[in-house]
Symmetry: C2
Subunit: 203 residues, 2 copies
């Protein structure tokens, strides 16, 4: 079994390779890759070999080839379906966020508990009242639920998403929620980003 931390590092390697490919870089050494993602040369080679990927030449890894292999092993090229619960300011900003599509996810539905909010929204993505959550998730095989409701409703929304059958949850509400072990759960808060800026400006 591959650990979460190993997967996060491999995703960062994939991110660096995509950026290099856009810049036209052909080869990259494990030392350079380690520098980009904040890891060590030894760990980069170990992480890549865990996925059964080989191909290190005298000039290093071949950027496009390695990127394609990682994309396939991580199953990043298959588009997955996602939905957003909570269509307030943040939720509607996320509905329009064009980068989702580039990263392998497709927003196929939005939900809110306020009928007034749903009727006033002008968006190309279909929006529903929260009572249609379970049926819509099952009918459209939605794998990822994105939580953009106030903190006090986040746990209840998470429970409903899990019961409806999602595989993963991305939580934007500033509150810790409990999920069963089989659910992939990430909090989207920029605490670490703010701390880094504060720390960097004083060291």
């Amino acid at each position: 079994d591959i650990s979460d931390n190993t997967i996060k590092r491999i995703c960062s390697i994939f991110g660096s390779l995509s950026a290099m490919e856009k810049r036209g870089v052909e080869f990259v050494s494990s030392k350079e890759l380690a520098g980009y993602i904040g890891s060590t040369e030894y760990t980069v080679r170990k992480d890549i070999s865990i996925l059964g990927v080989t191909g290190y030449t005298r000039r290093g890894y071949e950027v496009s080839g390695l990127k394609k292999e990682l994309e396939c092993k991580l199953n990043l090229s298959k588009k997955k379906k996602a939905c957003i619960v909570g269509l307030g300011r943040l939720g509607t900003a996320l509905l329009d966020y064009e980068k989702f599509q580039e990263d392998g996810f497709e927003i196929v539905a939005g939900f809110d508990c306020s009928i007034n909010r749903i009727e006033r929204l002008n968006t190309h993505i279909e929006v529903f009242q929260i009572s249609y959550l379970k049926d819509t998730i099952q009918q459209r095989s939605i794998e990822l639920g994105i939580i953009a409701v106030p903190a006090k409703s986040a746990q209840e929304v998470a429970d409903d998403l899990i019961e409806a059958g999602v595989k993963g949850i991305l939580n934007f509400a500033p509150v810790k929620i409990g999920v069963p072990k089989h659910i992939i759960y990430l909090e989207m808060d920029f605490t670490n980003a703010l701390r880094f800026i504060a720390a960097r400006s004083s060291l």
Copy 2:
């Protein structure tokens, strides 16, 4: 000089210590800390000692003590001033985001290029037309600029923030912007979070 990657790791250690303190944990080993943040035992000890912090006992690091020392060395306890440029859906959601205050930042101003948008906003934070950016940043000693404008305006806004004298920029627009070396720059996009969820669900 301490590298960006080292600072990011130390900020993650600080984050883990705060969470442990809330749970009432008294001691933690470097091995446990390494597991929480995805690092190695050796690197955790090295990173902490770089800041000149000692105090490893037979039972491990003392959680509250180490947290306080890191908070002081990273200068996280002093509140820094921030502003948001772009008061659309995302920008107004950020104006109200109560977690900013907890993480050592205080939003003291918002800016937008649309007068209509500024007049309609009902918020406790003072909002200005974009032409007042430089004067307000200098008068209020604002150190961090947060970009929440459409991608096509992000570079121009970044240039204005830098000219006005900010130390750091947190960019939410999905576009790469160029900044001089002395500016601390971070992009806030959840590509890595989405990739991790996609990869974890298939491995």
